[in-house]
Each structure stands twice: as structure tokens, then as C-alpha cells.
């Protein structure tokens, strides 16, 4: 399945179809992750890979719209068509050869299962006191890593903003659209269904956020889900309506506050006499401290991720509107 969709992405020339296929590919791989007993990862991949990423690509496509022009066959020399295949085959063969030294899948004796992982699985119940080991590793044991990841996301967003300009620039027009879906706003069915769906999506995001200690979920997934719900709203009811609910300024603040909540938790634990991001000192006893710390840190992650995803999407779609405005003026 995965291979078929991936191969489709290679051979199809219409970019729109390729992007749709990529969404399907991500959804299938999310199912695959679930099968490999990684529900947290599956949740993230489903929300990102099948939701946000294709949308961003579509928005880019709308900005740069054209088909991949099929290169005339004669023009393609052996150099351009055969060489990549040769390189790819050789690399692939070398990698396959290397797999013969790998431990078999699901082999309990594999090296990955015998270093820190058993420690996490056995001790986290007593030390952190929450059932979802993924959350405790993410937010507590490897809190520094995650702080780094949040900063990467934040920085990427700053990069996007500096490349495409500030959010408010493109908010003059109402609807995110390809030219041929301009009458999306008149679709009653879409309006009714989305009005029923969006609140549920948002509530589910909050559930994932705050129940992440006990079931699959956490700040990253919740942030993306929340953003996805909001993006749906912006797509159907227009960017202007979305901006009325969250202004660009609010998004900027939310991004910074998310990162600061995370970093600030570390500083707070420093002030209370612990190490940076050592949550043991944040409560009446160690386990309570861990609970509080993880809750706050995950909230920071959630706010930051949601704000970044929303503002990236708004930026791309705002620019789309802008772009078509310009073109129309030129036509007149």
C-alpha cells in the first residue's frame, strides 16, 4: 500500500494529484504506526501528514500554480534519466546488504530494547506516576530534547514569517481558495457539517492535551489537532472570520508564551533549588512535582505548536488571497 502510493507520487505529473496521494500515503503510514503499537506517533502522523502538510502544499501550489511541464522525451539525455536510477539502485542495494546485520524486527534481544528503555518502562510508574510512558519520557526524562524541538518549531515559524512577511499583510481578502473553488462559501452542506464538526474537533484537542498523561496524546498532538480544527474554520468561513477569532497579534503572543512556559518551568525549578527542568521540586513531593511540571510543559508545547501551525497556514493562505487580488487588478 505504502509503496504503491509512494510510487504514484513519482510517476504522476499533476501536482494536485501528487499532493492528494501524499495525504493518503501519510494516513496509511499512520495506520502502520498504530499496528506497530505506537498510538502516539500514529495520532501525530494522522493529524500532520494527512491534515496540515498537504494543506500547506496545496496552498503553495495555489501560489505557484502550474503543471509539471512534461519534458519532451528527446530532450532528456541518458545522463538525466539513467544516472539517478543507477545511484538509487546502488544505494538501495548497499542498504539491503547492511540489513543482514540488523536484529530482526520485534526481537526482544535487539540492542534498542536493552539500554535505557527497560529503565523507563519499569521506573517511570513510580518516579513520574503517570501511565503513558511516552509522555513521561517526552516531557520529563528527555525534557531538554523536547525543549530543543519546540525551539526548532518556533525558529522555523520565524523563518517563514521573515520570508513571507507578517501575518496581517494578506488579510484583505475573505476566502482561501483556488480559483475554481471560489464558491465554497455558498456551500450550505459544508457550512452545516463543519459547524457541527469543528467544536467536536476542538474539544477532542483539549481532551488529547489534558488526558495525554493517561492515554495517547500530549501537547504536540493536541496543538496540531486544535490548529487543524481552526484551519477548517478558516477555509470554510474565510480568513477574515478566522482573524476575528484570533488576531495575528494573539498568535504571535501565543507562540512566544508557549515557548516561554516551557523554558520558564525550567527556570522555576532552578529557583526552587532543583536542576533545570527537574520537576521534582515543583510540588509537595516528587511525584506531584512531576505531574505539575509535565502538565505545564505540555501546555506550553500545545500552545506553541497550535499557534505556529495556524499562523503558517494563515500566512500561506493570506498570501494566496493577496496574490489573486494583485492579478485581478492587473487584468482590469
Amino acid at each position: 500500500m505504502l509503496l504503491v502510493t509512494a510510487l504514484g507520487a513519482v510517476f504522476i505529473r499533476d501536482l494536485f494529484a501528487v499532493i492528494m496521494l501524499f495525504g493518503i500515503y501519510s494516513l496509511v503510514s499512520a495506520g502502520f504506526f498504530l499496528d506497530l503499537s505506537a498510538p502516539d506517533v500514529a495520532l501525530t502522523e494522522a493529524a500532520i501528514g494527512a491534515g496540515v502538510a498537504p494543506l500547506l502544499m496545496l496552498a503553495t501550489l495555489a501560489l505557484t500554480r502550474e503543471k509539471t511541464t512534461p519534458q519532451p522525451r528527446a530532450k532528456r539525455s541518458i545522463h538525466t534519466s539513467l544516472l539517478p536510477i543507477l545511484v538509487v539502485t546502488m544505494t538501495g542495494a548497499a542498504l539491503v546488504y547492511a540489513t543482514f546485520d540488523m536484529p530482526f524486527i520485534a526481537d526482544p534481544a535487539g540492542p534498542a530494547h536493552n539500554h535505557v528503555a527497560p529503565r523507563y518502562l519499569q521506573a517511570s510508574g513510580a518516579e513520574i506516576g503517570i501511565p503513558n510512558v511516552v509522555t513521561s519520557v517526552l516531557a520529563s526524562y528527555r525534557g531538554f530534547d523536547t525543549l530543543g524541538e519546540v525551539f526548532v518549531i518556533f525558529t522555523a515559524e520565524i523563518g517563514v514569517l521573515s520570508l513571507l512577511g507578517f501575518l496581517a499583510d494578506g488579510s484583505g481578502r475573505q476566502y482561501w481558495q483556488f480559483e475554481d473553488t471560489a464558491n465554497l462559501r455558498r456551500h450550505n452542506i459544508l457550512h452545516v457539517v463543519s459547524k457541527a464538526l469543528i467544536p467536536v474537533i476542538l474539544i477532542y484537542a483539549f481532551y488529547v492535551q489534558f488526558h495525554g498523561d493517561y492515554s495517547p496524546g500530549g501537547g504536540f498532538q493536541a496543538g496540531v489537532l486544535f490548529a487543524a480544527g481552526f484551519i477548517l474554520y478558516a477555509m470554510i468561513f474565510g480568513l477574515q472570520a478566522a482573524y476575528r477569532v484570533v488576531s495575528p497579534t494573539a498568535l504571535y503572543w501565543a507562540m512566544a508564551i508557549g515557548v516561554l512556559l516551557y523554558g520558564g518551568t525550567g527556570v522555576a525549578s532552578l529557583l526552587l533549588g532543583g536542576n533545570y527542568l527537574d520537576y521534582n521540586v515543583l510540588g509537595s513531593d516528587a511525584v506531584h512535582g512531576q505531574h505539575n511540571g509535565i502538565l505545564i510543559v505540555e501546555l506550553g508545547v500545545g500552545i506553541c505548536v497550535a499557534a505556529v501551525m495556524m499562523s503558517v497556514f494563515f500566512k500561506f493562505s493570506g498570501r494566496t488571497a493577496h496574490f489573486y487580488d494583485d492579478r485581478r487588478e492587473v487584468r482590469k
Binding site: 505504502l2 509503496l3 509512494a6 507520487a9 501536482l15 501524499f22 500515503y25 503510514s29 506497530l36 505506537a38 498510538p39 502516539d40 506517533v41 501525530t44 502522523e45 500532520i48 496540515v52 502538510a53 500547506l56 502544499m57 496552498a59 503553495t60 501560489l63 505557484t64 502550474e66 509539471t68 511541464t69 538509487v88 544505494t91 538501495g92 542498504l95 540489513t99 540488523m102 530482526f104 535487539g110 534498542a112 535505557v116 518502562l121 501511565p131 510512558v133 511516552v134 519520557v137 517526552l138 528527555r142 523536547t146 524541538e149 518549531i153 522555523a156 515559524e157 523563518g159 517563514v160 520570508l163 513571507l164 495517547p216 504536540f220 496543538g223 505556529v308 503558517v312 500566512k315 500561506f316
Partner: protein, 118 residues
């Protein structure tokens, strides 16, 4: 036979990785290149999660009576990597938008041509 079954996931990963790699080096359209990169990236995710899987292992959420869990560490790494991946993809896409504005095209050949004529 056991070899094939035991290494099957790795081979899928390699096949996907090579497809992504091929798209990145052979496609001339920049959006397609980004998609290739994403396919490559997903193959790495699958590699990690496959390594983290364990015979009869349940999802790593502690429950009474369950003894064997999948390895949580790769899950954590990949879950953050996915979100970081989309953020960097967004950065790449915004670069493409700017390239389109500067060159009027997102085809590599056209861009190279224009660069040559400057």
C-alpha cells in the same frame, strides 16, 4: 524464510527511502522535490518505530497485568520529529513561494536558465 520475515520492514523502509531519494534527485519541480523529501522522512520514521516494536509488545501505556511493552523512546523521538518535520517543510515551501516570485517558475531548468542569462 525467517530472514525475510524478520527483515521485511527494513526492506520496505529502504524501498520507500530510495523512492524518496529518486524523487529528490530526479524531479525538476521544486514542490515535488519537497514531497520526495517527505517520503524519505517518513521512511526514517517507519525505521525507528520498527526498531521500537517488540514481540507481543503493547502500546507503552502502563496497565495492570501487561508485562511487555513496545520501546517508548523511538516513539518520543519520532513524534517530535514529525511536528518539526512539518515546520521545516513549511519553511521550504515558503522558500519555493519566494523563488516563484523572483524567477516566475518552480522548475529547476527554467531557474538555472535564468541564472545563466543574468
Amino acid at each position: 524464510m525467517t530472514t525475510v520475515l524478520g527483515l521485511y520492514n527494513y526492506w520496505i523502509v529502504i524501498a520507500l527511502m530510495m523512492i524518496g531519494f529518486y524523487v529528490v534527485i530526479a524531479a525538476s519541480n521544486l514542490i515535488k522535490k519537497i514531497i520526495g523529501l517527505n517520503i524519505f522522512q517518513t521512511s526514517v520514521f517507519i525505521l525507528y518505530i520498527s526498531i521500537g516494536m517488540r514481540e507481543g509488545g503493547a502500546a507503552p501505556i502502563l496497565k495492570e497485568g501487561v508485562e511487555v511493552y513496545a520501546n517508548p523512546l523511538p516513539h518520543v523521538l519520532i513524534l517530535t520529529a514529525i511536528v518539526v518535520g512539518v515546520a521545516t517543510t513549511a519553511l521550504g515551501l515558503s522558500l519555493i513561494v519566494r523563488i516563484k516570485e523572483a524567477y516566475g517558475s518552480i522548475e529547476e531548468d527554467d531557474i538555472a536558465e535564468k541564472d545563466g542569462s543574468l
